[in-house]
Symmetry: C2
Subunit: 252 residues, 2 copies
């Protein structure tokens, strides 16, 4: 009983101070976490590619996915994968002949579209090509900090980094290059965007073909990093692939 | 201020009643959830195969992984994947010629080793072949309920179900077949265990070879279900693969 009273007093302190500092949500707002159980299952299944193809985030997962993206766990998850990549990259014997290569995707790998997807209810609304094009044309995608650090480390270690993106070369090429440059992505070997000739192809087909050309040019693809399975599937995928989290959209 | 007072009163009620009913942990025990953030990142990375190969669950994740396995989310996650599988299977045009096939793994796919891994700190302790063999020899692995339902539905829909497992045929064949039978896995087309000749091969090589033989016999592999990426990688993997959750161990 004494313990119980002590606990209640602790609770009152907690309630007053947590609200005063604004650091911790009061416990009665935490019910949201319990009701996220179905969305945790959806998110895990989506991340391991059990759900493909999916068009939108389930409507009832709006707040759970929003909390994941903005509450810190998404950033934690990104950083953890980057640490795995760095640990692997550290053990690669770089030949020094200029043919040790890494492949990075661009959207939600190097630079973030979270600010755009916030408006689209974190993917609960279906893909809107015109709206996304307008957003991309602003060239205002911020760097994903952990991947920016990975990028710099890879280049510093002597790897050639290739950025391969399904973004349209003609309409988005210049703005994408400028956006990347502004965000610190400087010193990559080449950026490969989707040319007019590649427009009809699926992401897997397009990216496989681009990687095939690199391999034919003699590059050894040590690693391949993307937020979509379509970045990592197909052929010539590289010695290891790394799937970054992205519960907001699925690119077939 | 009035709202604050009302909140504090609500808190006191919550503290008294939650403890009385035992249904909800008091908020000050929920710190455990917050400190699971690094282990959530580890688990997601392990599930999407970013960590391979890993020998043990990180020691600091013991309680987080334990809570995941025993707290209901693991079962939720399994059931969600099974729902995805059923939804996909429902759309397959079964030819009725007896060659529409599914492949299921056995350990922690059809039947569960959670009771064994509890003793091994949910995988925080390294793989112990002798202890695992003793456990398997008991033939006491319970069915994973959602997968047992999937199994029955697939057979009822006219599919031929093949169970492919890395378990040693000579020492564990009979006990595994009996364990499966007792747990309701009745009516499968064939169970394929690892024969003496296959002992040196990796799981990917062994399972690829077994699937190759099925494909050469004319089977169409519509789906392939396992808790390990080594169940789902290699060749002849099937039209779709489904990764069940398993944060306790990694089979290379």
């Amino acid at each position: 009983m004494v313990r119980r009273v002590r606990e209640i007093i602790a609770m009152i302190f907690f309630a007053v101070f947590s609200s005063a500092t604004g650091l911790t949500p009061p416990y009665w707002n935490r019910g949201a976490a319990a009701s996220c159980s179905p969305c945790l299952s959806w998110r895990l299944a989506a991340e391991v590619n059990n759900v493909e193809p999916w068009r939108t985030v389930p409507a009832h997962c709006f707040s759970c996915i929003g909390a994941y993206i903005t509450g810190g766990q998404y950033q934690h998850d990104l950083r953890f994968v980057v640490e795995q990549i760095l640990s692997y990259a550290d053990g690669i014997p770089v030949a020094g002949d200029g043919f040790d290569a890494w492949i990075l995707d661009v959207d939600d790998t190097c630079i973030s579209n979270v600010d755009y997807y916030k408006v689209k209810r974190y993917g609960c609304e279906p893909y809107d090509p015109a709206a996304f094009r307008s957003w991309a044309m602003e060239g205002a995608c911020p760097a994903i900090q952990s991947v920016a650090e990975l990028f710099t480390t890879l280049i510093g270690s002597g790897f050639k980094v290739f950025l391969i993106t399904g973004r349209d070369e003609e309409t988005l090429g210049q703005v994408t290059i400028e956006n990347l440059h502004r965000e610190g992505f400087v010193g990559y070997e080449r950026i490969i965007l989707r040319s007019a000739a590649e427009r009809g192809r699926s992401a897997v087909e397009f990216k496989t073909e681009m990687r095939r050309r690199l391999v034919e040019q003699g590059y050894r693809i040590w690693g391949n990093v993307g937020d979509q399975w379509s970045d990592l599937q197909g052929q010539f995928v590289g010695n290891r692939t790394f799937k970054l989290p992205n519960p907001m959209y699925f690119v077939p």
